[in-house]
């Protein structure tokens, strides 16, 4: 720095930066905090408004109501299973394909790569896909969560880009020793790809954990297959529909009569949102070191 650090302009700019950044942090975190507070506050009290940073009347009623209405343990089990299985399959399938198509000595590399990359821009749409799933007999089975999402072109590009950085000589010396491609892939490439595998695993796992519309489309007849997000989505939807009538009640002055043990759509919604968010919030600190690395690898694509 040539200029003095303590000019008025510098001080103003530094304070401006801090205000913006702290504002960002606040705006990101406060909705969670407020929702957590409302979820622990007695429903009848929340209606009076003004519940902002701390519960006025602590209660667990809202959570109990959610727990009773939706089969949360079963939904949690389905969500975890689909996430784990989908992630493992994605890693296996994507890395294998990426290895084959990252090797220049593979003769059919170009046409096969073209088919895979173009697939990212092709989407037949909701109902053509729906009838494919139906035709394959996947409707209302667990595998409908896994089979259609086993592979994604974007993850393939990230992995292929990473694999190209592995020195050619490593692979060639193994080949000279008589190793076959499967062996090279399994014992040399796969362990070397740990950082990019972690990144892809993160993307796939978050996508699988967060999806709910496939349940609406393909598994809505089988309550045993309802995922956590789906259960919470349907509770959210019904709370939205009820909250309008509840608001009418509120405006006509009946809110004061609602007793403390009761739940309202607003409180149910808050508890539901917290349950849906907590698993991601818990694993996030452990994952966040991976995705920046992976995204930067992916951004050098093509």
């Amino acid at each position: 720095m040539i200029h003095s650090r303590f000019t008025l302009e510098n001080i103003l700019f530094t304070s401006f930066k801090f205000v913006v950044v702290m504002g960002l942090v606040l705006i990101t975190l406060y909705p969670f905090w407020n929702t957590v507070v409302i979820s622990f506050n007695a429903a009848g009290d929340t209606i009076r408004g003004g519940v902002t940073v701390w519960p006025r009347e602590w209660t667990m009623t809202n959570y109990k109501a959610v727990w009773v209405t939706a089969n949360i343990p079963q939904a949690f089990f389905v969500s975890v299973s689909r996430t784990v299985i989908t992630t493992i399959l994605n890693l296996a399938v994507t890395s294998m394909l990426a290895y084959a198509l990252s090797r220049k000595e593979f003769r059919f590399r170009r046409p096969l790569t073209l088919i895979v990359v173009l697939s990212m821009y092709v989407n037949a749409g909701l109902f053509p896909n729906y009838f494919l799933i139906r035709g394959l007999g996947l409707m209302n089975t667990f595998w409908v969560y896994v089979v259609p999402t086993m592979f994604a072109g974007f993850n393939f590009i990230i992995m292929r880009t990473f694999m190209r950085t592995i020195p050619e000589s490593v692979i060639e010396s193994a080949r000279m020793d008589g190793a076959r491609e499967f062996f090279i892939y399994r014992t040399i490439i796969f362990p070397l790809c740990k950082p990019v595998l972690a990144t892809v695993a993160l993307f796939v796992a978050v996508g699988a954990w967060n999806s709910w519309f496939d349940t609406v489309l393909y598994a809505s007849r089988n309550p045993d297959l309802f995922t956590l997000q789906y259960q919470l989505m349907s509770m959210l939807q019904s709370s939205m529909n009820q909250s309008r009538s509840a608001a009418d009640v509120g405006s006509s002055g009946m809110a004061a009569n609602i007793n403390a043990s009761m739940v309202t759509p607003q409180s149910i919604r808050a508890a539901t949102t917290v349950i849906a968010a907590v698993p991601i919030l818990l694993v996030y600190p452990f994952l966040q070191k991976y995705f920046v690395v992976g995204l930067n690898v992916g951004s050098i694509k093509e």
Binding site: I27, F106, A124, L132, R180
Partner: protein
């Protein structure tokens, strides 16, 4: 000898003769099943586009369907609700595009100026978090904040902007902006990653030279940082223009209701409504097909436009 080390003078195809098919078969076994999977799940459903030209009944076989030509497309384009849905789709993705780009670039510039690494890292870590939440959670948060007894109404009342609480999700005119700001809230931190990476690749000598010439920090931002990340911005812009018909589906589905539906229904919602709720698969497919075709055309034209302008291309 390694199969493909090219010695000068050796013809390129020779190693294939010397080392026939052993490696190739392994590679084929590794790649062809996956490519067939991609063909089955991405390209094969394109066959379903025939539904758009039929009076499709799931009970009939393909050969006994009634073919109706472009009737569903004519219906689509003369449907009043379709015009409204196109307006909503374009308005919402336009708002998302502008707000998304501006917020991410501005935030990246500000984060780049942060010299206190602890604050910078903390702000980044926290701002990436919402990206990993599902729209179910985000919709729940939005609905809680905007409820009539919620915090947003309270703030506005305290500031004296409104007199009594409004039901924001019941206000049709507010819906586009709710979607726009929910998108910013969810993605702004995540979107800065790519800009920050581009900024960190700028040669520091440029800034030093500018300082010598007496540039202040705003001039440096304007004349060095922004032009340096222009290729990144252009590539992302091209991608976004290719997706202009994708105004989002989940948040509209989750927050849309009877009161705001004239402004909340996007083209994806239209497809779901006609297909899933009314069983009109042909019209739904025609709508989806229209969207896909427009997407491809937009992507290709944005790409060739970028080439003409001498910018980086995507394809």
């Amino acid at each position: 000898m390694p199969p493909f080390s090219r010695k000068p003078g050796l013809p390129r195809r020779k190693p294939f003769v010397k080392k026939p098919f052993v490696n190739q078969r392994d590679f084929l076994l590794m790649s062809v099943p996956v490519v067939l999977y991609v063909v089955l799940f991405t390209y094969a459903p394109l066959w379903g586009w025939t539904m758009a030209f039929q009076n499709f009944k799931p009970s009939r076989t393909f050969w006994t369907q009634e073919w109706v030509g472009f009737q569903w497309f004519e219906y689509l384009f003369s449907d009043d609700s379709f015009v409204r849905i196109m307006r909503n789709t374009l308005a919402m993705s336009g708002i998302n595009l502008v707000l998304g780009f501006v917020s991410a670039i501005v935030l990246a510039l500000i984060l780049n100026e942060m010299r206190q690494m602890f604050f910078k890292r903390m702000a980044q870590t926290i701002s990436y978090l919402p990206h990993f939440l599902s729209w179910v959670v985000v919709s729940g948060l939005v609905a809680t904040m905007l409820a009539s007894d919620g915090v947003f109404n309270q703030i506005l009342q305290t500031l004296g902007i409104i007199q009594k609480p409004l039901m924001w999700l019941g206000e049709p005119s507010a819906f586009w902006w709710i979607v726009g700001f929910a998108n910013v809230w969810k993605e702004v931190g995540w979107n800065t990653i790519i800009y920050l990476a581009a900024i960190s690749a700028i040669d520091p000598a440029l800034y030093e030279a500018a300082e010598m010439d007496g540039c202040n920090r705003y001039q440096k931002m304007w004349s060095i940082t922004l032009p340096s990340i222009r290729p990144t911005i252009m590539v992302l812009l091209i991608i976004s223009i290719g997706y202009i018909m994708e105004s989002g589906f989940e948040i509209q589905y989750l927050l849309g209701n009877g009161m705001n539906q004239d402004y909340s229904q996007s083209i994806d919602i239209y497809v779901v409504t006609y297909g899933l709720n009314l069983g009109n698969y042909s019209l739904a497919t025609a709508g989806g097909m229209f969207k896909s075709v427009v997407n491809i055309i937009l992507l290709l034209s944005a790409n060739s436009f970028a080439r003409k302008m001498g910018e980086e291309r995507l394809l």
